[in-house]
């Protein structure tokens, strides 16, 4: 089997799910003829036609609301946000309407909202965001954010088959940089299960998305230069979160560094830290530390963006502090 990119893996999942289930359809801005801003949906229109690959007006509230309505009627819509930053435009519809539909009205809302997320790409303040924390805070939504091509495909299939709304964050830095060989057959990765990206025994890095790769680079360097054995846990799913896997790695290494690309205050690292504190405090040999972006809007210039976002060198420095504690 040939290697395909993270982006192609997502596209492959969309093709396979649309082929498998006639209720699955895609809607979004410029996703049809143009194939999407990043070409994730390229080829879908030719194969499935205008009715199942719907080019929409620029209207995030309209698109997300329409997806919810169609989902109530038994369809399984997959919405593309041209950039995940624009989720904010649909925040009311997602949090007030979609997230509450099952609970308040017993209305199923099986839909996926997916889109290119994250920085390291010189995209500036509105094409680089990581707004996932705002949505894991909302009961009723599920949130996944894969780091590998295999997980991108498997989680997309799981998200489309899930009976609730799943926000599917795709890291645009990884779109064409990361490749993988897809497992044969119907490859579905369950939502809510983390993955050990690297085994280790001295300290754990808990992370997800692009910073999984920063953590792996750091782990390599720490092994070579410090003889440290670093475990890297890739969460993959942020809501629900795999508490079992988090506790297991904490209890194994007793030292934890949480790394994410999102800003610091109110970021998911704080939530993970609180959970560890509540359930595994007695296993800790050091305080849980965080490596995150600075609390600033993401700037455009390379020198600025690189400074604001967490880099491998930051992870190495923090891990050394933690190991020496």
């Amino acid at each position: 089997m040939a290697e395909i990119t993270y982006l192609e893996a997502i596209r492959e999942a969309l093709f396979e799910e649309m082929e498998r289930d006639a209720d699955v359809f895609c809607l979004g801005e410029d996703i049809g003829k143009y194939g999407g801003a990043f070409k994730v949906t390229e080829g879908l229109l030719d194969k499935f036609g205008e009715e199942r690959v719907v080019d929409t007006p620029i209207s995030e509230i309209g698109i997300v609301g329409a997806a919810a309505g169609a989902a109530h009627m038994g369809m399984r819509p997959v919405v593309e946000m041209q950039f995940i930053d624009f989720l904010a435009n649909a925040y009311d519809m997602l949090t007030n309407y979609v997230a509450t539909a099952r609970y308040r009205a017993f209305l199923p809302c099986p839909m996926v909202v997916r889109g290119p997320s994250g920085g390291y790409v010189r995209g500036g303040p509105f094409h680089s965001q990581n707004p996932e924390a705002g949505y894991i805070h909302t009961p009723g939504l599920k949130v996944v954010y894969p780091s590998t091509a295999e997980d991108a495909k498997g989680l997309m299939k799981a998200a489309i088959r899930d009976d609730d709304c799943v926000l599917f964050f795709e890291h645009k830095y990884l779109y064409r940089r990361i490749k993988g060989v897809m497992p044969a057959g119907d490859h579905v990765v369950p939502i809510g299960k983390a993955r050990i990206a690297r085994e280790g025994k001295d300290l754990s890095i808990i992370t997800y998305a692009a910073t999984v790769w920063k953590a792996l680079e750091a782990a390599e360097q720490l092994e070579k230069e410090d003889g440290l054995s670093v475990e890297v846990l890739d969460l993959r799913s942020l809501a629900p979160m795999d508490d079992e896997a988090i506790n297991a790695t904490v209890r194994k290494t007793n030292r934890v560094l949480v790394v994410h690309e999102d800003t610091r205050t109110g970021g998911i690292a704080g939530e993970i830290t609180a959970r560890i504190n509540e359930t595994s405090f007695a296993w800790l040999d050091a305080p849980v530390l965080r490596v995150t972006a600075h609390d600033v809007p993401l700037p455009y210039a390379p020198s600025l963006e690189d400074y604001v976002l967490p880099q491998s060198a930051d992870v190495v420095r923090a891990a050394r502090t933690l190991a020496a504690y």
Binding site: V64, M75, Y97, R104, D163, D164
Partner: protein, 379 residues
């Protein structure tokens, strides 16, 4: 816009020979009266329950708007779906919501349609063809665009209808939803119920447009206005829009001219309403009074027919009250179920009595609390 007159824009005479309402049977003509009378009587009973503090939250009236709710919903078939607003109790009753359900909702009973999760008439049933609204206004327009998009995709002979008030037309969701539906030619009827006020805000502070149907041009859809207090005129204008939608001609924007005689909710003293306005509408343009006159004068129903309906309504409301009052509140733990299909329920938090604390479990590593000074350890 101060409402100097209590008659507002009756565009055409209802009941004309070529109008859809001319095809209604005598039973259906009387049926329309039943639904309007039931709406009013049910709300009056709810007011009594509210004053007895049996209604848990606020109470919302549609007094004076019964014709626009009932007449529009009556133009739909059972398979069609509508999304009501807070003043569309009548629409929901027509679509099959029962007075018992309404009362249980208001009284937050455990066996209410939402099991005590949602307020008042915020509930739905896709089988009977109504989808519950949420409080942020305008949001149901995109949702109903999607509902009707699915009808189109599946080649189903079904249409949708969504109500917004004069206030909701100012929202982004209204604009995005109707525009999306118009572009996709969804079989959707968007009904603007212009009742003069959004909470305390008069229409003149809501829009600079002379009338709401002027907005239809911008969306490239037909717009029609009707006297919202004439139930047959409402039926006619809605039925024509429904027929267009069924023929694949897409969205219609309707504006029903009516008047909100009660405040936003029961707590609202309407201090912002010019003196005499409410009284004038009550005296000159009450939709139920108007329809009773037509039933007698135009359709030749006798006093017995009309009183028969009134009696039936009283019985239904009495029975519903008795049944609803017997129900119990929801079990507290039910609050934790059904946020997702999977997992089916959230776990109670550890500090809840009897649910077990993660800390209380004393889950500790081996050797916790054992401190041994090892050789050569300086700490």
């Amino acid at each position: 816009m101060a409402r100097a007159s209590a008659t507002r824009a009756p565009k055409r005479a209802a009941g004309a020979k070529d109008s859809p309402s001319s095809a209604l049977s005598r039973e259906q003509i009387l049926d329309l009266y039943y639904w309007m009378r039931l709406t009013r009587a049910l709300e009056e009973r709810l007011v009594a329950l509210y004053r007895q503090t049996k209604v848990v939250g606020g109470l919302f009236r549609s007094l004076g708007q019964e014709a626009d709710a009932v007449g529009s919903a009556y133009a739909l078939e059972r398979r069609d779906i509508l999304s009501p607003l807070i003043r569309n109790l009548g629409s929901m009753l027509v679509k099959g919501a029962t007075p018992v359900e309404i009362m249980k909702q208001y009284m937050a009973k455990g066996d209410s349609p939402t099991r005590g999760r949602e307020l008042n008439i915020h509930f739905g049933d896709t089988d009977r063809g109504f989808i519950g609204q949420i409080s942020p206004l305008g949001d149901m327009v995109p949702v109903m665009a999607g509902v009707t998009l699915s009808f189109k995709m599946r080649r189903e002979d079904r249409v949708g209808l969504v109500y917004v008030g004069d206030g909701a037309t100012s929202t982004g969701a209204f604009h995005e939803g109707i525009n999306f539906a118009a572009v996709q030619k969804c079989p959707l009827i968007v009904v603007v119920e212009n009742n003069g006020y959004a909470y305390s805000t008069p229409t003149a502070k809501q829009t600079a447009a002379k009338q709401f149907i002027d907005k239809a041009i911008g969306y490239g859809v037909p717009g029609e206005q009707a006297d919202g207090n004439d139930v047959l005129a409402v039926y006619d204008v809605t039925k024509r829009a429904v027929d267009r939608a069924r023929r694949g001609e897409g969205v219609t924007l309707l504006e029903l001219m009516t008047y909100r005689r009660k405040g936003h909710a029961e707590h609202d003293n309407q201090s912002y309403v010019p003196a005499g306005e409410i009284e004038r509408w009550e005296a000159e343009n009450d939709p139920v009074t108007r329809y009773v006159a037509r039933l007698r004068d135009e359709f030749g129903f006798g006093g017995g027919d009309i009183e028969g309906v009134d009696e039936r309504v009283r019985r239904v409301v009495d029975e519903a009250t008795d049944i609803a009052e017997q129900s119990t509140p929801p079990e507290a733990l039910d609050a934790l179920t059904g946020i997702y299909a999977d997992p089916p329920a959230e776990k109670p938090l550890w500090f809840r009595e009897g649910t077990g604390s993660v800390v209380d479990k004393h889950e500790r590593p081996e050797g916790w609390g054992v401190f041994e000074v090892k050789k050569g350890d300086n700490r």
